[in-house]
Amino acid sequence: MARADSRPDDPRDDRRRDDPGPGDHGPDDPELQRAIAHLLDADAADWSIATGLLASRPQQLEALRVVADVAAGCRRLQAAATGRQPAPLFRWGGLDVREQVASGASADVYRAYDPALGIDVALKLHREAPHSPTASRFLAEAHHLARVRQRNVIGVYGAALHDGRAGLWCEWVDGRPLTQVLKEQGASAPAEAAYVGIELCAALAALHAAGILHGDLKPANVLRERGGRIVLLDLGAGGKADDVNAASMDYGTPAYLPPEVLAGAARKPEHDLYALGRLIETLLSGAADARPAAIPPALQRVLARATAADADRRYARAADMQRDLAAALAEIHGVDAPPPRPTRRRWVVALALAGIVALGVLAVQRWTASAWNTELQLSRRTDAGVAPLASGATLAQGDRLVLDLRSNRPLHVYVLNEDAGGDLHLLFPLRGLEQTNPLPANGRVRLPGSKGGRELSWEITSSGQREEFLVVLAAAPLAQIQRLADSAVALDVERGVARVRVEAPGGMTLRGAHLNALLEEIGPDLSDADRARIQAYRFNDPGGAPR
């Protein structure tokens, strides 16, 4: 905390005066600006986007990661301070145990509140006698994890014996295991799978540097935090390689073990990299035993090496595999080499280009045959007020959009968005918003709504190639979509869009695979206009992101 020592420079001089050298990327670099905008403006910054944008610049990415860690830490403290807490089930040590979240072979996992830290923690309580061999192994897991401090490895806060039960408590991760992600979203896109691989390489590098092998790397032992951070957990099968082999621990999952281990060879840390190769394949195919669809060649090469039958051909170090995955990700994103150094002039031009994108035809669907009257209007919010978007209007970066809604009955509203990359986001309802379903009848409701007394908007932060928005109005909650709301696909209310065009009613065909799948699921509800109805918008930017 040394910030008071800084020099009192001219506060208006925020820019770096010296010229960055060749191949360097200054603070006005558009890719960096986009990554920063995403980090600052999204409710939960999605790391896969920053990783994609800055794949070829590890130093900037690492620096941004430090900022993201602090931002996420601050958010976590704010959320814990403002959230409502249910009454504790029981107390263990100094922790208020709130709810059981999982139960394993020898331990139960709870969400608990640490009054001293003022945050939620995950508490893993061992069920057996405190001096049993499994309890010793349980405390050994805490030993191993406590030795590693890395953002992709679950952070352990402490371990102790209380009331005859051994327990370890660690950071509470608001997210889902990859098994659940696969179940709910199906196979991952190659960029997403490569991103997960890169993050897990960082986790494994930290473990291996501490002389620890994980021993059971598989989708069930990896969490995807809301916002995209990948977190490795459960070291119950791991430890120092010598200890693991001496204890002849038959842990591990056959599909993720290399052939020589299945044949009885001793375990080594690099076997985790074989398991990681298998895990990435599972993400790409959707299941451990399925065949993946087309894999980009660069990623295919990494996987072939990671899972080679011949152990000598495989990766020996996590850093090597991470480097190759980063190169594969850069290739998938079409940025194989660091681009030439951008100048401030180019950046100004980019903003000017984004400012002349035009708004296409806009139509509002009405359902006059039904006694249920609903009206929707997409509008732009400016400092002067809110203006409906009409045909021929122009949108620019920084524009803010709202959706006005009227209904003569209370209703449940869901707003979803899918981009050209197939990423699905739920834009409403969102946790933390004051507006929630059901929305009241008779009177205008403006979405996305407000938070902390402040009205929010969806903001155009950059231009995407294609964005589709689906608004679903329903008389009763739609379980199929509510499931998404509960699992919080993403709380990113600010997606990149450029040109808005709305298809004529009746002629609307959505292209997004996730949205189409969802429409199919709620098909029976949609067949009755008194139960549910939809309005879809497509935001097109045929030219792609202007630079």
């Binding site: 905390m1 040394a2 910030r3 008071a4 800084s6 009192p8 420079d9 001219d10 506060p11 925020d14 820019r15 770096r16 603070p27 006005d28 960096l32 600006q33 920063i36 905008a37 980090l39 600052l40 130093q59 900037q60 690492e62 620096a63 990661r65 430090v66 860690d69 602090v70 931002a71 996420a72 830490g73 601050c74 958010r75 403290l77 704010q78 301070a81 009054p115 001293a116 830290l117 003022g118 945050i119 805490a142 406590a146 030795r147 401090r149 953002r151 952070g155 352990v156 806060y157 402490g158 371990a159 102790a160 014996l161 950071e171 400092d383 920084g398 902390g452 007394g453 402040r454 009205e455």
Partner: protein, 191 residues
């Protein structure tokens, strides 16, 4: 529309200068919850609990707002930034005073909760927080204020614009440049 900033800070500040004690109460009420959460995140776990922290922050705010000459001579910046800086100095003293060990005697030291570590250091990671703070200290005062308001105090752009007497868009662009500069300092430090 109910808003966080019901009366502009500048108006309250003028009323306070004119001797209106209720303006001071309004300002304390406005900043207290946010700065208490912020301070609690920064104090070592063993130092003070939340209600103690609340008292500490309240006393500090009342004291600083009763002696505004310091702010008048601080050479620009926002009132919130000035209060946060004053509080930071109080916290530093508090941390120095409270350096004491925890009570997890029966556990290996690496497993005991480190009571000398703040909740923020635990939530963000000590190494990341230290690198962030070192880099932040190299930025201009104005840049530091923007970053602290958005990231540490969780103000939205409209609230920041209100505190800084600026516009939402200007604040957003200035903040992006400040974070870009922070990233640059962090990248240079990694070399």
């Amino acid at each position: 529309m109910p808003t966080l900033i019901d009366e502009p800070t500048l108006t309250l500040l003028q009323r306070l200068r004119a001797g209106d004690a209720s303006a001071r109460e309004r300002l304390v009420a406005r900043y207290l919850p946010r700065l208490t959460r912020w301070a609690h995140g920064r104090l070592p776990t063993g130092a003070r609990d939340l209600s103690d922290t609340h008292d500490l922050v309240q006393v500090t705010l009342v004291r600083v707002l009763s002696h505004l000459e310091g702010f008048e001579h601080s050479g620009g910046g926002s009132l919130l930034g000035y209060l946060q800086q004053a509080l930071l100095n109080v916290l530093r003293n508090e941390i120095r005073r409270s350096r004491r060990r925890g009570e997890h005697g029966e556990l290996p030291e690496e497993l005991a909760t480190d009571e000398a570590e703040s909740p923020l250091a635990q939530a963000a990671g000590r190494e990341s927080l230290e690198r962030y703070e070192r880099a932040l200290a190299q930025l201009t005062r104005n840049q530091q204020e923007l970053i602290v308001m958005r990231m540490e105090l969780a103000l939205d752009y409209d609230e920041m614009a209100g505190e800084l007497g600026s516009t939402r868009d200007a604040v957003r662009m200035a903040l992006r440049r400040a974070v870009a500069r922070l990233v640059e300092v962090l990248s240079d430090g990694a070399r």
